[in-house]
């Protein structure tokens, strides 16, 4: 039988020596580092208000508090908001602050089993509403600018549809709207969450939530890992070895690890609505998604809307986000396609900068 490769002994030995050198270097660097040195969320912030486990934070750059237009950032519940301020040089929060915005962000906290009955109704009509009112009160305004990301984008859409008078401009980023639109452009490397959720019945989701109470962060993390099987397999060997080639790269790697490891559980009722009513039944665009008995009608979103998406999003395939255009009632709708992945656009050295610039320009015109 023919051997289908001809390994060059000299080249292979050189590779082996190089790999050994890298492993030794990585181990030496890792041994010198301590977890508390791996800081994320470095920008100074003040807790403005707290409700249950969630909190509203107000950011400030060193040397003064900005007094620009208030922008509230809502991140997803599936990860921590700290990714938006991962480090000083990769911080969307800092870029927006530099552009004279007064930046607030909601931390949804780390839900426990005690929060299993907290649903999207509570997040939108209680927590978010209270935080928006708080910012309005502090700034003496009737309405603020809202930036919702991923799940936070869906919460923002719901809020804007139900309490539109308090939102001046709405920005959504990598936000799922039509949860079945992945079928428009099916590709094996994206939209696995859609396929997985639809492979389950509504009763399966109910049972998952009834038994576990919340959907554990590790469970969601594993689903995300399944989306990129090759990457997941090489992460802690080849990728780590490459990253450990220098201190800065290794620190970036470890910051992301720290953020990923801080993945919150999804409150049971929230997950039930998210997976069943949105992912499976696609109610948001069907028009029968209701919070506290009131229908969420996207047609009632009449303020200016900026919808940011990326063509290479493997978690929220672009057609899911693009669908917003057909459903909002706003006459001022802008779609912005940026380069990068689902998370990459917020932390990429260039992409987060571009994102902040484009958001600032769009807001300045309104």
């Amino acid at each position: 039988m023919m051997i289908p490769f001809r390994v060059d002994p000299a080249k292979s030995l050189a590779e082996l020596a190089d790999a050994q050198r890298k492993v030794a270097g990585a181990l030496a660097r890792l041994a010198r580092m301590r977890d508390d040195e791996i800081e994320i969320g470095p920008t100074q912030k003040e807790e403005v208000r707290r409700i249950d486990k969630s909190a509203l934070f107000h950011y400030a750059l060193p040397g003064g508090t900005p007094d620009g237009r208030p922008v509230l950032i809502l991140y997803a519940l599936v990860g921590r908001y700290t990714v938006l301020d991962l480090e000083a040089d990769r911080s969307l929060v800092r870029r927006l602050l530099s552009s004279a915005h007064d930046v607030y962000a909601v931390d949804w906290g780390l839900p426990t089993r005690a929060d299993r009955f907290t649903g999207i109704d509570d997040y939108v009509n209680d927590y978010l509403d209270a935080y928006v009112r708080e910012i309005c009160r502090r700034h003496g305004v009737d309405a603020i600018d809202l930036l919702g990301i991923c799940q936070g984008g869906v919460l923002s859409l719901c809020y804007a549809a139900l309490h539109g008078e308090r939102i001046r401009n709405l920005i959504t980023a990598v936000t799922p709207v039509d949860f079945h639109a992945d079928r428009e452009d099916e590709r094996v490397d994206r939209g696995f969450m859609n396929v997985w959720t639809r492979s389950m019945s509504g009763a399966d989701i109910d049972r998952l939530v009834d038994v576990l109470g919340n959907v554990p962060g590790e469970f969601t993390g594993n689903l995300f890992s399944l989306m990129t099987p090759g990457r997941s397999m090489t992460k802690y060997n080849l990728d780590l070895m490459e990253a450990a080639a220098d201190d800065a790269k290794l620190m970036n790697f470890l910051r992301m690890e720290k953020w990923l490891g801080d993945r919150p559980d999804q409150p049971g009722q929230f997950a039930r609505q998210w997976l069943k009513e949105l992912y499976q039944e696609n109610r948001l665009v069907r028009g029968d998604f209701a919070l506290d008995g009131e229908r969420v009608d996207l047609g009632r979103i009449r303020m200016p809307v900026l919808n940011i998406l990326t063509d290479t999003d493997h978690i929220i395939p672009p057609p899911m986000s693009r669908a917003l255009k057909q459903h909002v009632g706003s006459g001022d709708y802008t779609e912005l396609v940026v380069k990068g992945g689902h998370i990459g656009i917020f932390i990429g050295p260039r992409s987060h900068q571009e994102l902040a610039t484009r958001i600032t320009e769009w807001l300045a015109e309104r």
Binding site: M2, P4, F5, R6, V7, D8, K11, S12, E15, L16, R49, D52, R113, A114, D115, R116, F117, T118, D122, D126, D129, A130, R133, E134, C136, R137, R138, H139, G140, V141, D142, R166, V188, D189, F192, V195, W196, S199, M200, D204, R207, L208, V211, L212, G213, L226, T228, P229, G230, R231, M233, T234, L238
Partner: protein, 239 residues
């Protein structure tokens, strides 16, 4: 042929016939030899938590119930749940293993193709990179297949069933020692959650009424404080 030869042939025939019958019997589907050979069959290892081990649990759990608390039944249900979980886990593992094997086969086919074109792989890292690419493609396809998704669903269901049985057993013991159970704590959390929602709803309603009332009075009247402990609104924004 002499009598001696005939006798030898008869004896040899008897021995050989007996041996052949033994071999035939042993190598039949239910024979000892076949059973022994099954021990070397990986499919047997993956299916070792199958019906044969499950049957005693099913039999015992199927017996008529009596009115007194059935600790033994709860214990058996936990054991049965674990077995099903192990079985499903093995089945799912088998599917993953098959996908890996197929990826290896695809890799070799690709390598042969490249070698035939005079472009063989020369280094280890290149080989690893090619394997990761092939495996990534394979797994992304396999994970979307009906068979794989069904297997994953069965595995999840087995885990949830097992977890439910464990909880029932623990709650039986907790009740016996007057300890609060998960179910009771969940009930309490539901009550607290419902009450919080009600209080917040009432606060909002009260703020709305106060706002309406304040708007009806003279513009110079002081605004009422928010019921949620916040300062009064700087401008009329509903609280």
């Amino acid at each position: 042929m002499t009598d001696q030869q005939n006798s030898f042939n008869d004896v040899f025939g008897d021995i050989f016939g007996s041996w052949a019958r033994q071999w035939e019997s042993a190598s039949s589907q239910d024979g000892h030899f076949a059973l022994a050979m099954q021990a070397f069959d990986p499919r047997r290892w993956l299916g070792m938590y199958g019906p044969a081990m499950q049957q005693p649990f099913d039999t015992l759990l199927g017996l008529p119930r009596f009115a007194f608390p059935m600790l033994d039944r709860k214990l058996l249900a936990v054991g049965a749940g674990w077995l099903v979980l192990l079985q499903r886990s093995s089945e799912h593992g088998g599917r993953l293993l098959r996908a890996w094997s197929e990826a290896c086969a695809e890799l070799f086919a690709e390598l042969h193709g490249a070698a035939a074109k005079g472009e063989p792989v020369h280094a280890g890292r290149e080989l690893i990179d090619r394997f990761i690419t092939v495996l990534n493609r394979k797994m992304q396809n396999v994970q979307r297949s009906e068979e794989f998704l069904a297997s994953q669903r069965k595995l999840l269901e087995a885990f949830l069933s097992s977890r439910t049985h464990e909880r029932e057993l623990i709650e039986l013991l907790a009740n016996a020692f007057d300890l609060p159970t998960r179910t009771e704590i969940d009930d309490a959390h539901r009550s607290v959650h419902d009450l919080k929602r009600e209080v917040r709803g009432l606060r909002r309603e009260l703020d709305r009424l106060r706002g309406e009332s304040a708007a009806g009075h003279s513009a110079g009247a002081p605004a009422a404080a928010g019921t949620d402990g916040t300062e009064p609104p700087a401008r009329a924004a509903g609280g």
